[in-house]
């Protein structure tokens, strides 16, 4: 059986990649993708810890399912905004979207 630490390491690596994408990308879709990565890193953590710590209780897995649902909703809303922005501005560079800034 694969040790728990590997899962945790994968999860941490995925989370860091997600953070990096969110902080460094100028493309809105790239940022959304980074967020997905971070959410899925958390999911891996939840499922792995649930399996290894309390194998008979499914709380972690159920929670992961909820997060996936929320992530899907979030992606749908986020992409809709991105499309809308693109239609108006003809780009999705978040540094240049300043219409609602003071």
């Amino acid at each position: 059986m694969i040790p728990l630490e590997w899962y945790l390491g994968l999860s941490a690596a995925l989370f860091c990649i997600g953070i990096f994408a969110v902080l460094s990308r100028r493309n809105a879709i790239g940022i959304l993708m980074g967020i997905e990565l971070m959410l899925n890193a958390a999911n891996i953590n939840l499922v792995a810890l649930a399996r290894y710590m309390h194998p008979h209780i499914l709380t972690g897995q159920v929670f992961a399912i909820f997060i996936m649902t929320v992530a899907a909703a979030e992606a749908a809303v986020g992409l809709a905004i991105v499309i809308s922005v693109y239609r108006n501005a003809e780009h999705i560079n978040i540094d240049k979207i300043t219409t609602m800034k003071w």
Binding site: I19, V22, L23, S24, I94, D95, T98, K101
Partner: protein
């Protein structure tokens, strides 16, 4: 009978109706019926009708009953020092007589005023004032306590002031109004002190309760003086001021600056008679014993006034001033009557009534003359008898009454006064006879110069006054003729009604009647000889006795004396006080001001550098910090997320280290 008794319960309405008219005229102004005149006449006419009913009630009770009990009612008013004071009306025969006089004359004068004041620019205001006057005068008449009496007394003084100064554009009218107000105020101070003194001793202001305490007051003293005469004399001071008695008579001749109907109503028939009424009302205070000191003073002042004013009237040339001095003289007669005691009380008040009618008639007649000729100087008139027949005949009748010709009202009342004086004090009687002679003389002079002979000024085209003015004259002339018959010497109804104590009327004396009539005819004869027949030149008096003429023409220099001994020192004191005010008081104020300015400079410096400095420093620090913190606010979401991430890392780091 029963109905009439019930009617007296409405007595309080009598002064209220003119007061209501006053308020209505104020509210409606020129838009009111007849520009307010009809409201005023309606008010006083309803009072008149009500008064007649009340008088009928008094008469029916007085003539049928043995003991007259006054109609009186009062309601709680206020509490002074634990003493409840009640306000109400008190109607006895004297009140009834005054009600008759005041409402009759006031009504006729107001009707007359419709014509006389026609076209005046303050027409509604005139009727408002005169309604207020009627209200105040009527409440004075029916007052059952001395306090209400005093309040009304001051109110009539106020309206007198307002009406004398009605044409206040004229400086003389303005001055006359002030003079009247201030001079009568001198007497009113006495009145008020007398009122307080009586209140102090009797613990009441109600007239009947006061009178009940008189025996107890007899033994009281104040500052070593007997209290009762002091109180009486103080009250009399008020009467002297209001009734223009010597030495406070100086305001009345000047009061002629007011509109003539006002002179007739206020300064001849009613308000000036209020002083006599006061003495009559408070007579128990005065006549606590026969020939008391108070009564002697009243009689002396009365005869001095009667003689003095009559002599002045003989040389005046202004028609209204002659009548004014005549009024003063006749008021002196009334005071004299009240002062000689016994039935002089009845005689004086009887003269008050007859005088009110014929003097109002004379004044309204003179108003008609002024209206018709446009002048007040009798030297410019003459021959008016043909041009103004109504005015002439009514004036003639009133003159006869004033002179005391037999079978006119003035004859009965004046004869009665002289009769009482004859039995009480021979000196006063003979002086009174002289005054009666002078009265006849100056009235003949007035008639001769104004109405008889030929017109002296060809530029004056006299014309008769409108009917609204002549009708009241006719009514008053009739009253001047017949009002005396209720005092017929052998069957004196008036004496039966108005009397003090149980004094029996002194029987009619042919000596006195003949002497009085003789002096009147002598006066008329002399006047006729001098001013009509010119047997004696009118100027002979002026040429032979210039000092005496000047003395009279200048009214015994009363105004000048008062000016020198009262007004001028008063001005000096005011000037001194003004200097004190300017130098000391203003100096103090200015000093305080300067210190304040100095203090403010210091505080201003402190404020500017210390307080403002602290505030600015705080501002500057905040600004600096803000400038530094601005660098963190980039506006880039990713920067904020980075800060957040770093922050979380730091929190986690701190957590792990612990």
């Amino acid at each position: 009978m029963e109905f009439l008794t019930r009617i007296t319960e409405l007595t309080w309405l009598i002064p209220l109706l003119p007061a209501l008219a006053f308020a209505l005229i104020l509210l409606t102004g020129r838009k009111g019926p007849g520009q307010g005149a009809y409201i005023a006449v309606a008010g006083i006419a309803s009072s008149f009708v009500l008064s007649l009913l009340v008088i009928a009630a008094v008469l029916s009770r007085a003539l049928h009953g043995h003991e007259f009990e006054a109609f009186a009612h009062s309601a709680p008013w206020m509490t002074v020092g634990g003493l409840p004071i009640r306000m109400g009306y008190y109607v006895d025969q004297l009140t009834a007589m005054m009600l008759l006089v005041v409402t009759t004359v006031a009504m006729l004068v107001q009707i007359y005023s419709i014509g006389y004041m026609h076209g005046d620019k303050r027409y509604p205001r005139y009727f408002a004032y005169i309604s207020l006057f009627s209200a105040a005068m009527l409440s004075l008449v029916i007052a059952d306590n001395l306090l209400l009496f005093f309040i009304s007394w001051e109110l009539v003084g106020l309206t007198s002031y307002l009406l004398i100064g009605f044409w206040f554009e004229k400086p003389s009218a303005m001055r006359a109004a002030k003079k009247a107000f201030i001079v009568t105020r001198v007497g009113d101070v006495g009145f008020f002190m007398g009122l307080l003194l009586l209140f102090w001793y009797t613990q009441s202001v109600n007239l009947r309760e006061m009178f009940a305490h008189i025996p107890a007051m007899m033994s009281q003293t104040i500052f070593g003086l007997p209290a009762l005469p002091v109180a009486g004399l103080l009250l009399f001071a008020g009467a002297v001021g209001k009734s223009a008695q010597f030495p406070l008579h100086v305001w009345l001749p000047d009061a002629m600056e007011g509109p003539t109907p006002v002179s007739a109503l206020i300064h001849a028939a009613t308000m000036v008679a209020a002083g006599v009424y006061l003495v009559g009302r408070m007579y128990p205070i005065f006549a606590f014993e026969p020939h008391s000191i108070t009564l002697t003073v009243v009689a002396t002042i009365g005869i001095i006034t009667a003689l003095m004013a009559a002599t002045i009237a003989t040389v005046q040339n202004d028609i209204k001033r002659i009548l004014a001095y005549s009024t003063i003289s006749q008021l002196g007669f009334m005071m004299m009557g009240l002062g000689v005691g016994g039935c002089g009380y009845t005689a004086g008040l009887f003269h008050l009534m007859t005088h009110a009618f014929f003097k109002a008639n004379l004044f309204l007649g003179s108003g008609s003359v002024i209206h018709g000729t446009g002048t007040q100087d009798i030297r410019e008139m003459g021959g008016l008898s043909k041009k103004m027949p109504y005015t002439y005949w009514t004036f003639l009748i009133a003159t006869a009454a004033l002179a005391g010709l037999p079978f006119t009202s003035g004859f009965f009342s004046k004869d009665e006064i002289l009769l009482e004086a004859f039995h009480a004090n021979q000196t006063i009687f003979w002086l009174g006879l002289v005054a009666a002679f002078l009265t006849a003389f100056y009235m003949t002079r007035l008639m001769a110069l104004a109405f008889w002979g030929e017109p002296k000024n060809k530029e004056i085209h006299a014309h008769e006054s409108p009917k609204v003015m002549t009708r009241p004259l006719v009514v008053l002339a009739v009253l001047s003729l017949v009002a005396g018959y209720i005092g017929w010497p052998t069957k004196n109804i008036f004496h039966h009604l108005v009397h003090f104590g149980e004094a029996e009327a002194v029987p009619f004396s042919w000596t006195v009647a003949l002497l009085a009539t003789g002096s009147a005819f002598a006066g008329i004869g002399l006047g006729w000889a001098v001013f009509m027949k010119r047997v004696i030149s009118p100027s002979v008096f002026r040429e032979k006795l210039p000092w005496a003429y000047n003395l009279l023409a200048n009214k015994y220099y009363f105004d000048e004396i008062y000016w020198a001994i009262l007004v001028v020192p008063l001005f000096r004191i005011t000037a001194m006080l003004n200097g004190f005010d300017q130098k000391i008081v203003d100096g103090m104020v200015n000093g305080v001001g300067r210190v304040t300015v100095l203090m403010s400079v210091v505080w201003g410096w402190f404020d500017k550098w210390v307080v403002d400095g602290a505030v600015l420093l705080i501002g500057a620090i905040t600004k600096l910090l803000g400038r530094l913190l601005r660098f963190t606010q980039t506006g880039m979401e990713q920067d904020y997320v980075l800060f957040m991430f770093v922050g979380i890392l730091m929190i986690v780091g701190v957590y792990l280290l612990h």
